[in-house]
């Protein structure tokens, strides 16, 4: 479904990713691990075409993502749900509106929004914070809101960049369970983390990055960072 072909990404003189070739099939649950600065976030940015690769290409199904017109890129992004490491919520919108915006953006009608948003709010336990603005939420709440926004549109892929970074162990287990449940329903999940407990819980494919290179790709994952 997603295929990295010899991708290199450099920021000025800094090499973030070097010669990466990975393929991820539909329905897979992939964890990408590595120290901070290993290139995990860059990898997710390349899938979203937020950044362009310096060399090589990234394919979604058989389409080169970085050759799409802005219009087609918008359509592609509607198939991807993203949980950003720094949440990237819309500061001028309430919890409810942040989730609703993702649905509005892909053109869902009002009825669907009124039906689905409360349901997802309940799922991430934010019903009581529906009319709060992001700056009024705690780190964990923002994280859950970001997850809610990513899953509300029922995307083909969910990319979760450190989705448990701000959560306590109990919430972490819940979030990972949620992602697994979504994966069981057929959604491809790409998760980056440096949390050993998360990997132990997932027990799926693990790709290990070190200094921008893939050093390990295990079918059923263990945490192997030194």
């Amino acid at each position: 479904m997603i295929y990295f072909n010899k991708v290199t990404k450099k920021y000025k003189n800094n090499t973030s990713l070097e010669d990466i070739s990975i393929s991820i099939t539909r329905g897979e649950f992939v964890a990408i691990v590595g120290h901070s600065g290993a290139g995990k976030t860059t990898l997710t940015k390349l899938i979203l075409a937020e950044e362009a690769p310096t060399d090589g290409s990234v394919y979604f199904e058989s389409i080169d993502i970085h050759k799409l017109t802005p219009k087609d890129l918008t359509k592609l992004r509607r198939k991807i749900g993203v949980v950003f490491q720094d949440f990237r919520l819309l500061p001028n919108k309430t919890t409810y509106e942040n989730i609703a915006f993702a649905m509005e953006a892909i053109g869902k009608d009002d009825k669907e929004i009124e039906r689905d948003v409360p349901h997802v709010l309940e799922l991430v336990d934010l019903t009581s914070k529906a009319s709060h603005f992001p700056h009024q939420l705690s780190g964990g709440e923002k994280q859950r809101l970001a997850i809610a926004r990513a899953i509300i549109t029922q995307p083909d892929i969910i990319i979760a960049d450190e989705p448990t970074g701000n959560l306590d162990p109990i919430n972490t287990v819940e979030v990972v369970n949620l992602l697994k449940k979504i994966n069981d329903l057929g959604t491809t999940v790409i998760l980056t983390t440096h949390n050993r407990a998360v990997l132990d819980q997932v027990k799926k494919r693990v790709i290990t990055l070190e200094n921008g290179r893939v050093v390990r790709d295990d079918k059923d994952g263990k945490y192997m960072l030194s």
Partner: protein, 307 residues
């Protein structure tokens, strides 16, 4: 679907506007200043035009007739003048009126009055006072007397003198001052409007620059360009509407004050002028405000939607 989208864009734009607090206030203030400048310039133009018209009104040319000129030939000159396209108005002063005016003018001068009484006849001639539509046309009117053939020989012989040549220097100078003032007013207006437009545009650009991360997130969530742009344009339009209402209100006390202070100087009461043209002025302010707000937003957001 289109209506749903429109509704969403408007609601979202309205929320952005009300929730942005300080930024909205700042852009309203800047926009108000711009509209204030534009409206002031309209006022200044109105004032300038009216004071120029006052000056123009004071310029005229008088044709003096010989005391023994008969009324028929004076009438024929008057009729001929009134047919000229440059002439706005011709007023006739008879011999008797000229005498009354002369006596009034010299009512403190006994010697002159006595000398006048010594004469049996009225020594003053009748005269025609000519006002042109434009001060620059006096020259051609006076030439008309010198060369034109449509006046009969008889009419020409009854004319004593035309005071154009005495007034020529004054008329020429006034004409050039009027033209210069109009040209200068136009250029200054243009520059001021341009400057305030640039300031408003930059303010809106800064506000959108502050939202660039938000725009980026919207893109990543899969929102289309038009759907992202819409709310910003709506906010810009709202800024324009609020600023134009504000400017309209501000101009009420301003025009009252100017009306009290400046009416004698410029010749019209600006408060009366404001009341008389209130609706048009409000539409101009509203239109410029909305247009500036919307167009600035579209241009400012363009670069963030491009990539």
């Amino acid at each position: 679907m289109f209506l749903t989208k429109l509704k969403r864009v408007v609601v979202s734009g309205y929320r952005n506007f009300t929730r942005s607090g300080f930024t909205s206030v700042a852009s309203i203030l800047i926009m108000t200043i711009t509209l204030f400048v534009i409206t002031s310039l309209i006022f200044i133009q109105a004032g300038l035009n009216s004071s120029l018209n006052n000056i123009k009104d004071k310029v005229d040319v008088t044709v003096y007739f010989l005391p023994d000129a008969d009324e028929a030939s004076i009438d024929s000159v008057k009729e001929a003048l009134e047919k000229l396209p440059e002439v706005k108005e011709v007023s006739y002063t008879s011999q008797e009126e000229a005498l009354v005016e002369f006596k009034e003018k010299h009512s403190n001068d006994y010697l002159t009055l006595q000398a006048l009484d010594e004469l049996d006849e009225n020594p003053l001639g009748a005269s025609l006072n000519i006002k042109a539509k434009d001060p620059s046309q006096y020259e051609s009117i006076s030439k008309y007397f010198e060369s034109d053939s449509s006046l009969s020989r008889g009419a020409l012989t009854v004319i004593d003198k035309i005071d154009y040549h005495q007034n020529k220097i004054v008329i020429d100078r006034l004409t050039s001052i009027i033209k210069g003032a109009q040209r200068l007013g136009f250029v200054v207006s243009l520059i001021l409007i341009l400057i305030s437009l640039l300031i408003t545009f930059n303010t809106i650009r800064l506000i959108i620059y502050m939202s660039r991360e938000e725009i980026n997130v919207m893109k990543l969530v899969g929102a289309g360009g038009r759907y992202i742009r819409g709310p910003f344009v709506v906010s810009g339009v709202l800024v324009g509407i609020v600023a134009s209402v504000l400017t309209t209100i501000i101009f009420i006390p301003v025009s009252i004050w100017l009306g009290n202070q400046m009416t004698d100087f410029i010749g019209i009461n600006l408060y009366t002028y404001y009341k008389a043209n209130f609706f048009q002025l409000f539409i101009i302010m509203l239109g410029s405000g909305v247009a500036i707000g919307a167009i600035s937003s579209v241009f400012a957001i363009h670069r963030y939607l491009r990539k």
